[in-house]
Amino acid sequence: MTSTLLELDGLTKTYPGVVANDDVSFAIRKGEVHALLGENGAGKSTLVKSIYGLVKPDRGTMTLDGKPYEPAEPRQARAAGIAMVFQHFSLFDALNVAENIALGMENPPALRDLAKRIRDVSEQYGLPLDPSRVVGDLSAGERQRVEIIRCLLQDPKLLIMDEPTSVLTPQEVHILFETLRLLRSEGTSILYISHKLEEIRSLCEHATILRLGKVVGTCDPRATSARDMAEMMVGATLHVPEKADAAAGEVVLSIKSLSAPAPHQFGTALRDISIDVRAGEVLGIGGVAGNGQDELVAALSGEMRTRTGTISLNGTPIGRMGPNERRAAGLSAAPEERNGHAAAPDMSLTENALMTGAVPMGLVERGFLRWAKARSFAEDIIKTFDVRTPGPQNAGRSLSGGNLQKFVIGREILQRPKVLVVNQPTWGVDAAAAASIRQAILDLAADGAAVVVISQDLDELMEISDRFSALNEGRLSAPRPARGLTVEQIGLLLGGAHDMEVAHVEA
């Protein structure tokens, strides 16, 4: 018996135009938490999909417990003792917790017995969960628990976790780590994928770092500084956005007692939100996904109408205005989802430039489109924000996530709005693009605009916000100066751990 559980040797996977994994080799020992570290697009997802049988590598071998391991489909991977918690949860909203869990098992017991086992396991690992609840009604943290319990019920030898903390509050992260440490003590190996370095330093004993599909280094995270790991991951020294201290100006955007019902079954209602945003400041709004972020952006952008007087821009009530009237008045927004919300993936960049630029940039005249002007606006965005594309005639979907995001943010910033509202400006964007987007946002504020940044990335918010506020179940906390806030304080602002207690952990 060796102490190695899974060994990867020379795994290679190419897609048309991209080498996702290039000769990747490393080994995971029994009972260790092994970090797989890398930027977006480094090839982490492809690699774990190969281990989980969703992707078949072109070359290379895997050895599990000393035997060749070649899963043709997830079923075989599960049978071999490998379980995976997906980054975008593979859950079914309309089904209940027990049904969801049954779907992830090979031979599930009758639903009633399964419900009991779910209760047992959830109690044992401190992850309370009601098997009869419909998954669509659960919070992001609870949804993740469904996935974890689904995995645990199979007694996995290896648990793969793909960016598990991106949707959790700091307290929830803490509880998750307790669970993972407990599992490790029971001999389960964990492959932990993340780009959050502090987490990895506190949890993992071994790390493999991927860049552009290749293994570029390994280390013991407990003995390596975050800075060193970051440089290995990015391959260069990072540019940290510069934030100029500026005195806040007049109140530009004012929200008073804004309430709105949930727009759809699994949406969140906004409850009594009041806040003022001043010229030249960046207001950061943190919170776990699904606590009203989308709804708040919709209410501000004009996609969702609200009562008059709840929202005003420079003293003018705009609650009843549609998106284009608000843009004309100087309020721009960029929703979280690039594909199909902030941009139309199948349309050209010129047409995408028209989406929000039509009115403020004068791209429409008496109802008719001015294509030449729209095209030069698109070219302007591409040039100013360094969007990598052959030209504005290309479809939105031909751009990488980071480039499309630069285009979307650039499109709004070039309209010189008095207020800019952005949701998750750097989600799924590589580090270099993220840094330039943050810098652009800061520059806009420095020029005197009021900026509202909604994000789930606390590091990002701390980096660029002047004031910080948290969104929790549709309520917005009173803002606090961002400078000097600690992680614990933020955690409390985010609404604690969503009734989740570290219960009955028998370590």
Binding site: R75, S90, F92
Partner: protein, 304 residues
């Protein structure tokens, strides 16, 4: 006008029979939509089943062979839809419409030599003793086998969807095909199976019209029944027992308006004939409930 000619017991018995084609086509489409596929070709599959069943029954003299042939015919047409929508990833709305147009043409082509011929008779199952019970007897225990098949199928589909693992998987595929794929379920294969089942059910429903209800072959015999079946699936909120309710509601309106026509009620026949369609719209507007399967109508392409 003579309303006394309308016998409520016979009316209800007739209602159950009249609703059978809709119920069969509807239960098939319900399974298809629960798997996340919107097949608007029900009308085309129904009428293809109607003629295939008619030809098979006429050739063999056996209605049972006819029903079998209808199921095969409907399933065969559905297979075209399955290949187009699942393997060539075509937009399901125009593909379904195309299937209906194609089926209407095909049936009229196949049926050109059968117009006006009478179908072999289908005998009713007369449950001894039970059928003599007043009121309930004629309603419940003196129907033809397909009526019982329709009811049995509804119960079976209910059991399948809510009590069996395969049904759970099918619902999961319809709810979120990406997640189902990530768990390793064969989204395409499951959907093809559902589509073919839906086609067989629609074909069976169609043949009930050509072999039992009418029972001669005429062009356009389904007269929008397939569309009504689609509407009733929406009305039912994708739940089998409500589907049965919807089918009976529709059967009731159909039978009632025919009875009223026969009773010479002073309402023009045309207005009575349009009543089932108007009723369908009203039902859709006023009584629709439930949430559509999450992946309904979306093409699935495994891009991982």
């Amino acid at each position: 006008m003579d309303l006394s000619a309308i016998n409520p017991v016979l009316l209800i018995a007739a209602l159950i029979a009249a609703s059978t084609p809709i119920l069969l086509a509807g239960i098939g489409e319900l399974v298809v939509e629960r798997a996340g596929v919107l097949n608007l070709g029900v009308e085309g599959m129904m009428i293809t089943g109607a003629i295939c069943g008619f030809i098979a029954a006429h050739a063999t003299g056996s209605a049972s062979v006819g029903f079998l042939g209808a199921a095969v015919g409907g399933a065969g047409l559905a297979l075209i839809f399955a290949v187009l929508s699942q393997y060539l990833l075509t937009n399901q709305v125009p593909t379904g419409l195309g299937l209906t147009l194609f089926g209407l043409g095909l049936s009229s082509l196949l049926g050109q030599d059968y117009a006006g011929i009478k179908a072999p008779t289908v005998s009713k199952i007369d449950v001894p003793l039970l059928s003599d019970i007043p009121v309930l007897g004629p309603i419940l225990f003196n129907q033809d086998p397909i009526v019982y098949l329709g009811i049995g199928m509804t119960v079976a589909v209910w059991w399948f969807l809510y009590r069996s693992r395969r049904g759970l998987i099918l619902r999961a595929v319809g709810e979120n095909h990406e997640a189902a794929h990530a768990l390793g379920y064969k989204v395409r294969l499951i959907r093809v199976g559902a589509i073919v089942f839906g086609g067989a059910c629609a074909g069976l429903g169609g043949s009930y019209l050509s072999l039992v209800r009418v029972p001669i072959w005429t062009d356009g015999i389904t007269a929008g029944y397939g569309w009504i079946a689609l509407a009733i699936v929406v009305f039912a909120g994708w739940r089998p027992y409500r589907l049965m309710l919807g089918a009976y509601l529709f059967g009731g309106v159909t039978v009632l308006q025919l009875n009223l026509q026969a009773a010479n009620v002073p309402i023009p026949a045309e207005y009575l004939s349009m009543s089932p369609y108007v009723a369908t719209i009203l039902v859709l507007v006023l009584m629709s409930s439930g949430r559509a399967p999450g992946s309904l109508g979306r093409a699935f392409h495994a891009s991982t």
